[in-house]
C-alpha cells in the first residue's frame, strides 16, 4: 500500500518564477492538505482540498493556489516566487470527517534564488 507520494523531491527556482508541486494521497484517502515548513519551524497550514474544492485556508497570499483532481491527487501552485518561499512543502492526506489522522509525504524542498 503506497503512502503519500510527492514530486519532485527537490526544486530550484529563481525569484518571480512559478512552480507546481504534486501530491498523490494514501490509498483510500479523499482529503489533501498542504503545509509549508521553514527551516527550524513547525509546518504551517496552507490549505486543504476535499471533493475538488478548497475547504479551508491558512494565512497565505493568493499567490498560493491549488487543485484537486477526481482521483484525489492534488497540486500546489506558487506564482511570483519570493526568496521567502524557500521551504519544505509537505502534503498530507486523510479521510474527511472527524479527527482522522493526517499522513504526510516526504516533502518537496523548494529553493528560490
Amino acid at each position: 500500500d503506497a503512502g503519500v507520494t510527492q514530486s519532485p523531491t527537490h526544486l530550484i527556482k529563481t525569484r518571480g518564477q512559478q512552480v507546481t508541486l504534486r501530491c498523490s494521497p494514501k490509498s483510500g484517502h479523499d482529503t489533501v492538505s498542504w503545509y509549508q515548513q521553514a527551516l527550524g519551524q513547525g509546518p504551517q497550514f496552507i490549505f486543504q482540498y476535499y471533493e475538488e474544492e478548497e475547504r479551508q485556508r491558512g494565512n497565505f497570499p493568493d499567490r498560493f493556489s491549488g487543485h484537486q483532481f477526481p482521483n484525489y491527487s492534488s497540486e500546489l501552485n506558487v506564482n511570483a516566487l519570493l526568496l521567502g518561499d524557500s521551504a519544505l512543502y509537505l502534503c498530507a492526506s486523510s479521510q474527511q470527517g472527524g479527527l482522522d489522522i493526517q499522513y504526510f509525504g516526504a516533502g518537496t524542498r523548494l529553493s528560490v534564488l
Partner: protein
C-alpha cells in the same frame, strides 16, 4: 488562533536514559497529534490523543493528554539512537479536523 509551545527546544540524552517532551496549548485541544521528523524529511505519525486523561503507548514511547486537554507529554523510556529526530506536536482546532497547528518541535539527539 491556537498556539502550541514545546519544551525543551532541544535535548541531548545518553543512550538508555529516559526523557520527556512537553506540549502546551493556549486553547482546549480537540485532538493532539505527535509526529516524528528526520531532518528535512516528512512527518511520521506516532500517536493521537483525544480524551482528557488519555494515555497511549507504542513500544518505548508513551503519550499523555492532561485532564484539562491543554497539555500533552511524550515520554521515551530507555532511549536508543533510532529515537533521534525532531518531535512535533500538532493540534486540531475543531472536532472536524482539517487544519493542524504545530509547535516548533523538539530536536532530540541520543549519544552512545
Amino acid at each position: 488562533s491556537q498556539e502550541l509551545e514545546q519544551s525543551p527546544q532541544s535535548l541531548i540524552v545518553q543512550e538508555g536514559k529516559n526523557l520527556t517532551i512537553n506540549c502546551t496549548s493556549s486553547k482546549t485541544l480537540y485532538g493532539l497529534y505527535w509526529y516524528k521528523q528526520k531532518y528535512g524529511e516528512g512527518l511520521i505519525f506516532l500517536m493521537m490523543l483525544q480524551k482528557g486523561g488519555e494515555e497511549k503507548s507504542h513500544e518505548k514511547i508513551t503519550a499523555k493528554l492532561d485532564e484539562k486537554k491543554q497539555q500533552s507529554s511524550l515520554h521515551i523510556t530507555a532511549s536508543q539512537p533510532s529515537h533521534a529526530g525532531i518531535y512535533l506536536c500538532g493540534a486540531a482546532e475543531m472536532i472536524t479536523a482539517s487544519k493542524l497547528t504545530f509547535g516548533t518541535g523538539t530536536r532530540l539527539q541520543v549519544t552512545l
